[in-house]
Symmetry: C2
Amino acid sequence: MFPGMGAPPRTRLPTDERRAQLLALGRSIFNERAYDEVSIDDIAAAAKISKGLLYHYFPKKKQIYVEVVRAAADELIETTAPVAALPPDQRLAHGLDAYLEFVDRNARAYVTLMRSGVGTDEEVASVVEGTRMALLQRILVDGLGMPKARPLVRLALRGWIGLVEAVSLDWIDHRELDRAAVRALLAASLVSTLGAVAALDPDSGLPGPP
Amino acid sequence: MFPGMGAPPRTRLPTDERRAQLLALGRSIFNERAYDEVSIDDIAAAAKISKGLLYHYFPKKKQIYVEVVRAAADELIETTAPVAALPPDQRLAHGLDAYLEFVDRNARAYVTLMRSGVGTDEEVASVVEGTRMALLQRILVDGLGMPKARPLVRLALRGWIGLVEAVSLDWIDHRELDRAAVRALLAASLVSTLGAVAALDPDSGLPGPP
């Protein structure tokens, strides 16, 4: 499950390596169990280090969790990065597919983050909101070529990200449709919503509906 | 602020009346302050009753809160009920306007519910999710005349409700657009998303894009 766990216990590792090891371990633990079900002792036991040593790196469970969420957010941003070599319409499909693949692979952690109380912790919430803003900005800049969008365009995109999250959570729960069908729905709802915005606000700078 | 608060303190009221009074008071308090900032003492003081008497009705702050959320959810469902006398397209606009008017009037409480930890409490979350399902079912039955929708239709509507919530929260935060503009965005995104679903799933039973 965790690379290096086969190594002899209580090996001394350099600080950075130990932190990285603990974060990878924390991520795998938080992806298997709800936040409230994980104790700092569980993490120390899984890492085969003393609670005191774990405490040295992360004085509180929430600090590990915040770092785990931050690392996951970084990965999400990277994995969904637009592939410049693809034509624009395939770029959207590719990015959405990467998003859903990430959700699928981290399903439990995604639900914990979006639905449990810890997701509303100020620090955790700011990582989540920062990720949304990064995705929104990317759509504006890379997707639409309009870094300064009008309020209705920004609001529509913010809403669409809410749609993506609600669809992702429902998809994880029900699994009635395959990823390609969900991706097609998300892509079509973005294109059609932007088309609707173009019709509502002729000065939006968006191309109208086809 | 609260009807009856001008009456002499510590009046004996019938049980139902007292409960209703406490709930109305709780609602007004929770709409002004975040959940964590309100104590059971604050509520007792505002109601001009002893903490012991309050305890008799609601042993815990969360119980008042759950009832307050339930009452607010009932009001939301009622206030957004489709007006049969209106033509279908105006029914949507009317319902959305009522939703946004409700959000506007209960802005602080809406944010507390959707963004704070208490919103993820199991009991509170089930009221919220139940409200979403009631709205979804209403769109299916009254709006589309399809009580048994195919998975893609249901998923799209669930996503659109996520869009409505994200837009509402952003609108409350920024207030850049008036309610009519936001309502038009929500209506257009629903119509266009359903049009997109019709194109993706020819067996959906939905009319295709105009």
